[in-house]
């Protein structure tokens, strides 16, 4: 885009008209990179499958009240542990609640957790990563060593520690998952920024006297987007898995919220008697995580220039 400034310079040259003409023909051939990526993505069958899975769960969550006549929290102890049937597609759990209803409402929770945890980690991780990578020196040392410290713990253990400090609730689980993902984004962005910092166009911008803030916002950040987008998509999956793990341990969503990991934990005593109480939430977790991973992997192929053949 900065190329537009070039004609000004060109005007000083002897044959500006001819040069301009040449330049225009070049521009026609270049399609915007995102269009290219979408094209690539659509060719990737796995990515499309992942996309369909996610869209399915998004609609399942959004339309939950229309899809089912039951409430996710109303107990009906007379109808406990019913096998799947026309009335209860996925059966009922041990408190007589319709499992399909709980899966549908649970989709809202899981997708929200993914969204907010990833957004949080992305915002803070990117800011810290850019600052560390661009300014270097002691700021880099402080931020990078903090990341190293956080990454030294197994992530789920760190999440458990954070929840233990804050208290068990879905919000705190979300915060914990965001925190454990900050260094993941941070390191990614930092390494990208360090390599960008040495690029000629950044040098040029600096030489022109552009302020650091403007360079970061207009040059560094846009050029770091590709790995961030890929990592966000993959991070969605792991965030949902982490939330389910915390829920399973009783550290995430609290009853009567229909969080999938919690549903698994609540039903594990019925693995022999009523396996459907475990299969539905288990498969749901699997599908959503799989969906995000497939998309993320496809995106990486599509966006990352190094992967292009």
């Amino acid at each position: 885009m900065k190329i537009e400034e070039r004609p000004k310079v060109e005007k000083l040259l002897t044959n500006p008209v001819k040069r301009n003409h040449q330049f225009d023909t070049v521009e026609v051939k270049v399609s915007p990179p995102w269009k290219d990526a979408v094209k690539q993505l659509r060719k990737n069958r796995f990515a499309v499958a992942g996309f369909i899975i996610i869209v399915f769960f998004v609609f399942l969550g959004l339309l939950a009240p229309l899809l089912t006549p039951y409430s996710y929290e109303e107990q009906n102890l007379a109808n406990r542990l019913l096998a799947p049937s026309a009335d209860h597609w996925f059966g009922t759990d041990d408190l007589g609640r319709d499992i399909f209803t709980r899966i549908a409402y649970g989709a809202r929770i899981s997708l929200q957790v993914g969204l907010f945890a990833v957004s949080g980690a992305l915002v803070f991780g990117t800011i810290l990563g850019i600052v560390a990578g661009y300014f270097g020196r002691w700021i880099d040392t402080i931020i990078s060593r903090t990341f190293d410290m956080l990454l030294a713990f197994p992530s789920i253990l760190l999440a458990i520690a954070v929840v233990a400090i804050l208290g068990a609730s879905l919000e705190n689980a979300l915060i914990a998952i965001a925190i454990i993902n900050i260094p993941v984004f941070g390191r990614l962005v930092r390494s990208r920024v360090i390599s960008l910092r040495e690029e000629e166009y950044i040098m040029a911008a600096k030489a022109q006297g552009m302020k650091n803030g403007r360079i970061l916002l207009h040059h560094i950040l846009p050029n770091s987007m590709a790995p961030i987008i890929v990592q966000s998509t993959l991070g969605f999956g792991t965030a949902i898995l982490d939330a389910a793990a915390l829920g399973f341990l009783g550290l995430g969503a609290q009853p009567p919220m229909p969080e999938w990991g919690k549903m698994l934990a609540d039903s594990r005593n019925f693995i022999q008697l009523a396996p459907w109480t475990l299969i539905a939430p288990g498969i749901s977790i699997m599908l959503v995580v799989l969906g995000f991973n497939l998309i993320g992997d496809g995106l990486r192929d599509a966006i990352d220039p190094k992967m292009k053949s």
């Binding site: 107990q75 406990r80 408190l95 693995i271 022999q272 991973n293």
Partner: protein, 544 residues
């Protein structure tokens, strides 16, 4: 890479689910031969339970998982029948009680030796009782954190305390011992049958000191071999056991399998022989299985929803009564206990002396509950914390689910419940300090005496200990004291009945159910009889 690991994780999760779901049938008997072939002919019994023992010094803990094991290693002066709290001879074959109820003489078995070869005699009995009653005794190990709370509860305190009932212990002969009391104690003989007052070898106390909790030496049918924490405790046959031909088993292994469902799978595969705490929902399946036997323990407990009566708004009796009216006990008994429980009206289980069947209790009535709440000044309800214990107990196999049902019940009268979890040890500690508002807990009997239930749970003096409701009613305290000190059992029964009326009216807790805990064994296990105290004697058990 990222994609790969996450995918593998998800795949494994799915695989585990599918495998676990299919694991139900088809495996019986296959692994049994393999696991035990090396010890063919040996009678090795594996008893699986949910948690490990906290200590093998029975007197310094009130942990049922501890006395379940030490019951095989130690004996007390008196014992209980196999399936009830009827007192029968133990290490004392006979006893006399004086007219005034102030002197008890026990005649001890002769020729009995401890597992370390030393003689069992009256002196050994005296050393043990002095160890519990005198905090400064050389074997009390006070500096090492030992305390004997059950001794204090059952005998009115410790040496030097005003209410301590055991004045002196006289060694009359080598095998004759006399207990002199300061005042009559209605439950004295029942107490002597409690396993918490079994006799340890004085030499072992001398040799092991404060390590006695890992080196139990008694006179019982089995000797201690090894203990690997949170996994298993191994006992072997005491060849010199005082009863001819017993025990029948060569080896007993107490194994920890925390998850109820996993334990049942292990039982089906023959990996274990007896499992404690069957999920009530699995009972029907166990009963239908020819390779397994299902047993129920006697109703000897109460599971309840306690109120911290020291905190607003639970200090208001009307609020407590309103909550009491809003809980659907019958549904809880059906849903969480599969019917192996009776909705509870009194804290005392039916069948106990002095059980008051005229107390009406609180029938489920949401309208009445709302009226009472409005009368108490909370027409729109309030928000409140409900503490839930993290472990399955005999009186409450699934506390988390009980909490969810209660949460649902209370939401209908406008009370919004937040569920609070805490680890088991801090749970007990913090609730006795009064950090909680509503809380779930229960109580299991261990001597068959009503005092053990009513005084522990509701007497003002138990506040700070087992009375976690902070309920303290002077009139009730007096009744319970009088009943404790009387030796006239009819009089005691009358006083306890009156006490239950007061408790019901004041409503310091919602008594939920008396459960019949379930035990399952392989059908090869013979002569097994679960005891209502949960400490089953394995002395006569054999494997076919």
């Amino acid at each position: 890479m990222k994609f790969k690991t996450a995918f593998v994780r998800v795949f494994i999760l799915a695989l585990v689910l599918v495998l676990a779901a299919c694991g139900g049938g088809g495996e019986e008997g296959s692994s049994k031969e393999g696991s035990k072939s090396e010890s063919k002919g040996d009678q090795v019994l594996v008893f699986a339970r949910g948690g490990d023992s906290s200590s093998l010094d029975f007197a310094s803990t009130s942990d049922g998982e501890s006395s379940r094991v030490t019951k095989q290693i130690f004996e007390s002066l008196l014992d209980f029948d196999k399936d009830s709290f009827n007192v029968v001879p133990g290490l004392a074959h006979d006893w006399d009680v004086s007219e005034d109820g102030l002197s008890y003489k026990f005649y001890l078995e002769e020729g009995v030796t401890f597992h370390d070869g030393t003689d069992f005699n009256a002196e050994a009995v005296k050393v043990n009782f002095e160890r519990w009653s005198d905090p400064d005794h050389q074997y009390a190990f006070k500096e090492d954190g030992y305390a004997y709370p059950l001794y204090g509860t059952m005998f009115g305190g410790y040496k030097g305390d005003e209410d301590h009932v055991i004045k002196e212990i006289n060694v009359v002969g080598d095998h004759e011992i006399e207990f002199v009391l300061t005042q009559p104690l209605g439950s004295f003989l029942q107490n002597m049958g409690m396993h918490y007052f079994a006799i340890t070898s004085p030499k072992a106390l001398e040799d092991f000191g404060a390590k006695i909790n890992e080196n139990p030496v008694g006179t019982g049918p089995f000797k201690f071999v090894s203990w690997s924490k949170d996994d298993s405790i191994v006992l072997e046959k005491n060849e010199n056991y005082r009863k001819e031909g017993l025990p029948k088993l060569d080896k007993v292994v107490y194994k920890v399998v925390p998850d109820n469902a996993a334990r049942l799978i292990a039982l089906r595969s023959g990996e274990i022989d007896i499992m404690d705490d069957v999920n009530p929902d699995d009972a029907a399946g166990v009963e239908a299985d020819n390779a397994l036997n299902l047993y129920t323990r006697g109703e000897n407990n109460v599971g309840f929803l306690g109120f911290n009566t020291a905190k607003e708004p639970l200090n208001n009796k009307l609020v407590r009564q309103a909550i009491n009216h809003s809980i659907e006990r019958e549904k809880i008994a059906d849903a969480l206990y599969a019917g192996y429980a009776t909705p509870a009206v009194n804290p005392l289980p039916p069948g106990y002396m002095g059980y008051n069947d005229e107390v009406e209790g609180y029938k489920f009535d949401a309208d009445k509950a709302k009226e009472l709440l409005a009368e108490a000044g909370y027409p729109d309800g309030f928000e409140i914390d409900l503490w839930v214990m993290p472990v399955s107990r005999p009186y409450m196999p699934d506390p988390e689910k009980a909490a969810e049902i209660i949460q649902d019940n209370l939401s209908k009268i406008g009370v919004k419940v937040k569920i609070v979890r805490e680890e088991w040890a801090p749970y007990l500690e913090k609730t006795s300090k009064g950090d909680q508002e509503l809380y779930l807990l229960g109580w299991s009997g261990s001597n068959g005496d009503p005092d053990y239930f009513l005084s522990s749970l509701t007497h003002g003096e138990s506040v700070g200990g087992e009375n976690r409701t902070f309920y303290d009613n002077a009139e009730l305290n007096e009744l319970l004291d009088a009943a404790k000190l009387s030796v006239d059992q009819e009089e005691r029964a009358r006083l306890y009945k009156e006490a239950q009326e007061i408790i019901s009216e004041d409503s310091p807790m919602v008594t939920l159910v008396h459960s019949k805990p379930l035990v399952a064994t392989r059908s090869a296990v013979k002569n097994y009889q679960p005891h209502p105290s949960t400490s089953d004697s394995l002395v006569e058990v054999e494997l076919e």
